[in-house]
Symmetry: C2
Subunit: 336 residues, 2 copies
């Protein structure tokens, strides 16, 4: 799983993701088509992917918790989870590449990697795109580029995004100015689960807004410039926060870590509030024995659907107990 | 030191103490006498103690912090610390027995032991009293017994007291009913530093109120009956608190312990608020690796004057830092 290893700049960058939106020329866009057409698109995509090791997950007869689980792993979008048409997702064995069928567009393929590696993710996804294009007839216009249901994706059809943990900027309140400045550069900043979601645990998704009249390479360069700046600013702000009052900083970090490692009941809200301090503590060398990848894993694996499904909790009280138990195990070094 | 070892019923009883008030017949009571008389009493007491290994500590030229230090160790009373007459205290090498001179009475001798051992403390102090009586002429009346400055001590001149940690009774609010019931039996319940002090950290001093028309043995029996009952009630209440909601109980204990072990800034108030949960956690087997004696030591050694003097902290902020540092060392098993 992408979130289980520490990538480049893993102290701040949780993951890098490229998504390409494609539509099949011979079908109407998703909003207009019938269930039969939707099934035909799934079939065509499956055939085009043949030879590659993809597993198909049919979302039409999947229960809500399982869908949430995939959402929390960023394998599917909220839109796909809520789709009423026959739809599904093809995933490779590491869940690094996934191909959603019948979300907003006929095909939305994505590659997600741990840490800061937009180029690596683009390279892998581009190879898949090229191979699919040999077998499928994508809707493409000489002037506009790839055609998409929503005009905001027309052109490259690409969204490149980086998931950043920015506790320093969030806690000091600097994040709002930073978001405003970044927006002016054509870069969007969203919460943990993409468009319309709120930021939780000081996690932000930073992505390109423009897809028309720009190449994929330019898009990546623009985004990387902004992400480089955000990484730099986050490190500066965290260091300044520490330097301003090292004891108080260590006290907040120490208490957050101790509470997470020592509690027997832990709500998702409290977890999301405390974990950013642990990240800062790890980055500033105050906390040993836990690395950034472990924190990333906790953020994913302690999300409500994960706790419900993987730890067998059927209500909020049980989830809070299981979440605390997992935290004591991982952070408190408690015997299993 | 009495508080460094685990005595009988050490899960609840911190210490047992006997105090005897005596006055020298040929001198006026403390309120009326001159500095010369006060010095003469010190001299006479010193001669009477000769042959026993006592160290004399002159309080007249001792600074305030050192006095507070002895107060926090229960070696002297607040009244002696504030005395304007020449005064002092003789202590044996373990600080088990101390003889205050020119407190409210000319001589106030006490024996303090760890755990629940009123008989042992009485035996040792009675031996000292007998030996002093051979050399000093105590004010004694055939009808009233030993004469004291305040009539409430006349008779045996004895106060037997037990210091109890009663977090279960305190947290559930049952303590108020218990105190009211116990008062009717002629037993007083006071805070950590004796008369007029507030209860801190759920610690209570339970002692006899009556000294007139009663023997020392009867006094001890009465007190022991009450203490036995309090120990029993505290264990019951703590167990009921746990049984009512084990997870919530463990959560409170786990968070209190984790916060004490993980913070970098710890005020005395917060420490006093959290440590009772740790005691309950140790007693209920939720916390390993810390015993009751270690908690008793922390309660004494993290008192403000102790932290100031022994850890070299000169203001409240430094004390809060040193206190947290000591807690991380003892509870967090942090490297020194």
């Amino acid at each position: 799983m992408w979130y289980k290893s520490n990538g480049k700049d893993g102290d701040i960058v949780i993951s890098s993701r490229i998504r390409l939106a494609r539509n099949l020329k011979e079908f109407r866009f998703c909003g207009k088509m019938t269930a039969d057409e939707a099934n035909a698109i799934i079939e065509k995509t499956k055939n085009a992917l043949d030879g590659r090791k993809f597993k198909f997950i049919n979302l039409s007869n999947m229960d809500k918790t399982d869908k949430l689980l995939m959402l929390e792993q960023h394998l599917i979008s909220r839109e796909l989870a809520e789709s009423r048409l026959p739809s599904g997702v093809f995933t490779d064995k590491d869940n690094e590449i996934s191909v959603m069928v019948n979300e907003e567009d006929h095909i939305r393929m994505q590659c997600i990697t741990g840490g800061y590696d937009l180029d690596g993710a683009y390279e892998k996804l581009n190879a898949l795109d090229t191979s699919l294009e040999e077998k499928l007839d994508f809707a493409f216009d000489e002037n506009y580029g790839y055609l998409t249901k929503c005009p905001t994706n027309t052109g490259t059809g690409m969204r490149a995004s980086v998931m950043l943990h920015l506790p320093g900027l969030a806690i000091t309140g600097n994040i709002n100015n930073v978001i405003a400045a970044v927006n002016k550069l054509g870069i969007a900043v969203r919460g943990l689960y993409g468009e319309g979601s709120k930021s939780a645990a000081c996690i932000y998704q930073v992505s390109n807004q423009v897809t028309l009249g720009i190449t994929e390479e330019e898009t990546l360069e623009n985004l990387k410039n902004v992400v480089d700046m955000l990484i730099e600013k986050e490190r500066q702000v965290t260091k300044a926060l520490y330097d301003n009052n090292p004891l108080q900083f260590k006290d907040k970090v120490g208490r957050a870590y101790a509470t997470l490692a020592g509690a027997y009941i832990m709500t998702n809200d409290e977890f999301m509030k405390l974990i950013p301090y642990v990240r800062m503590g790890v980055n500033m060398g105050i906390i040993d024995g836990v690395d950034s990848a472990a924190i990333n894993s906790l953020i994913i694996e302690l999300s409500p659907a994960h706790v419900s499904k993987l730890m067998g909790a059927s209500n909020a009280a049980q989830r809070d107990e299981k979440r605390a138990s997992k935290l004591r195990e991982v952070l408190g070094k408690e015997e299993k």
